[in-house]
């Protein structure tokens, strides 16, 4: 390996190292905002790593996030923290495996619709279980985990996700996913079995989301199914990844950063306009930024001087 192949890994590690000082430098307002942003960055990146190349739009992010959070609510005071995280990870993976096996053989539209309703179903089932079996609706999470620790855990997870994404991009699996996104029926004729590749990545991406949910859970102190499985989160994740664009690793990070700031401003000043804003951003993305901000920026940088004399398209056929 030479220095160019190591450079992205080193850049990620260096950036993470610098950011690790954040909790020592800022007050609790900014730390809270930073924690929220990091969480969105993890979710949007994990989402984009699966949905970007395969074009399977998942609306189940909150299912895995919520599973992680609920694992903490149930086991947080029973098991040591690393084991709690491990259980969250495995539960998320198991759920993703089931969902993936059922839907990833099918066309993308079925996948969207299935994941669209999944959070509602899981929310109702957890509610039913809590009401009928445990006889209590909500759960309290009293864990002695500071905001600073949550920040560092999230930063660690994001670093791992980004390192993994770089490695994936260079791997055969990453190449396979691009081929699948390009033309799945063709891919089969060259020895590629698409379902397994898609399933593998969907499970990995979901596992990350479950971990994020588990790490975030202690911030709430009180969790009930409506909080943990709030379907809006899934849409927020989609919009962040799409706004940033998934053709570049930093796209979802940028999208998550911008939207976190926007949500923060809006949440405190115009809470009623939240849904309307979400809708408008979606529409802007569809019409003006089909490849996201990162796609648009790369395009602008690649062609610094638009030459109008070349506007005529080439007809080569």
């Amino acid at each position: 390996m030479n220095t160019t192949t190591l450079r992205p890994y080193l850049a990620i590690l260096a950036a993470a190292g610098l950011l690790a000082f954040t909790p020592l430098l800022v007050d609790s307002f900014w730390l809270t905002l930073a924690i929220g942003t990091l969480n969105y960055m993890i979710l949007a990146t994990a989402w984009g790593q699966f949905s970007g190349p395969t074009r399977y739009v998942s609306l189940a992010s909150v299912v895995f996030f919520g599973i992680g959070a609920y694992t903490v609510a149930v086991l947080g005071e029973v098991l040591p923290w690393p084991l709690v995280l491990l259980v969250a990870l495995l539960t998320g993976m198991g759920m993703a495996l089931l969902v993936g096996l059922a839907t990833l053989r099918l066309a993308g539209i079925y996948f969207v619709i299935f994941t669209f309703g999944l959070s509602e179903m899981v929310r109702q089932m957890v509610t039913w279980y809590e009401v009928n079996i445990t006889q209590s609706m909500g759960r309290y999470v009293f864990l002695d985990i500071s905001q600073e620790t949550i920040f560092w855990q999230l930063l660690g997870l994001l670093t791992l996700v980004l390192l993994g994404a770089v490695a994936l991009h260079r791997s055969r699996l990453g190449f396979a996913l691009r081929v699948i996104g390009g033309n799945e029926p063709m891919a089969r004729h060259f020895g590629l079995e698409p379902t397994r590749a898609k399933l593998g990545l969907f499970v990995a991406s979901s596992a990350v989301m479950a971990l994020a949910g588990a790490i975030m859970a202690p911030r709430w102190t009180y969790i009930d199914p409506a909080i943990a499985f709030n379907a809006t989160l899934s849409f927020q994740v989609v919009i962040m990844a799409m706004l940033g664009g998934m053709s570049r690793l930093w796209g979802p990070l940028l999208g998550a950063l911008l939207m976190s700031i926007l949500f923060e401003i809006l949440g405190s000043h115009f809470p009623q306009a939240f849904a309307l804003l979400l809708g408008l951003v979606f529409i802007v993305i569809v019409y003006l930024l089909p490849n996201g901000l990162s796609g648009r920026l790369s395009q602008l940088l690649a062609r610094p001087a638009p030459d109008l004399s070349l506007k005529e398209p080439h007809h080569e056929r």
Binding site: S171, R172, F175, A176, R178, V179, G182, N183, P185, M186, A187, R188, H189, F190, G191, L192, E193, E316, R317
Partner: protein, 245 residues
Amino acid sequence: MSADPVLRLQGLRKSFGGLVAVNDVSFDVMRGEIFGLIGPNGSGKTTTMNLISGAFRPDQGQILLEGQDIAGQPAHLIARRGIARTFQLLRLIEDMSVLENVMVGLAFRPRQPWDATLRRRAAEFLELVGLGGLGGAAVSELTYIDQKRLELARAMALEPKVLLLDEWLAGLNATELHTGIAMIRQIRSLGTTIIMVEHVMSAIHSLCDRCVVMNAGTRIAMGTPAAVLSDPLVVEAYLGEPVHA
């Protein structure tokens, strides 16, 4: 060409709803042969290709590749066993470079390591079809014939025992056709067995050792191109019902 059949089709049948697209079709393809599959539109040629490559699953019959039945196996396993194909409507990936499109043919072969040799070998296959040095180009920058060459390079990258060409020569002008025919000959000289579905009769005449003529899902003739194309049944299939006075 030797006399051992590399591919044997036996009693192959496929229907879609009420329509029988391929009806009890059998033929042997010899190793190193260029074998033509001809017939009027809708006669079942492309469906036969799709059955061989695993895009469709036959209702009945066997497809023996070197003696082993591959009928009904999923396409990716058939590809790994050594059957490659091109597509009638080109299926290249537009947002990948020319070289990466060839890498698609290499990357998922059994025991293919994922390292720097992959790019080098992909470049060799580009060289083979006359696209050497164009690896960094975008697919959309290639002319139509060059895109067809790229499809061929990708299929050849599987180093198949049997190569299926689905109207690979269609849409080429006279000069390009000449180049295309020479290229198919060159590939055969490397030892690859070729089955081609084709409408360009001059190409069939000059390339094929033998061919099968299909009409309405059934095999109506088989033999050398000269022999089958003068067969009255074949003439009738192409020109319609003979005129009764």
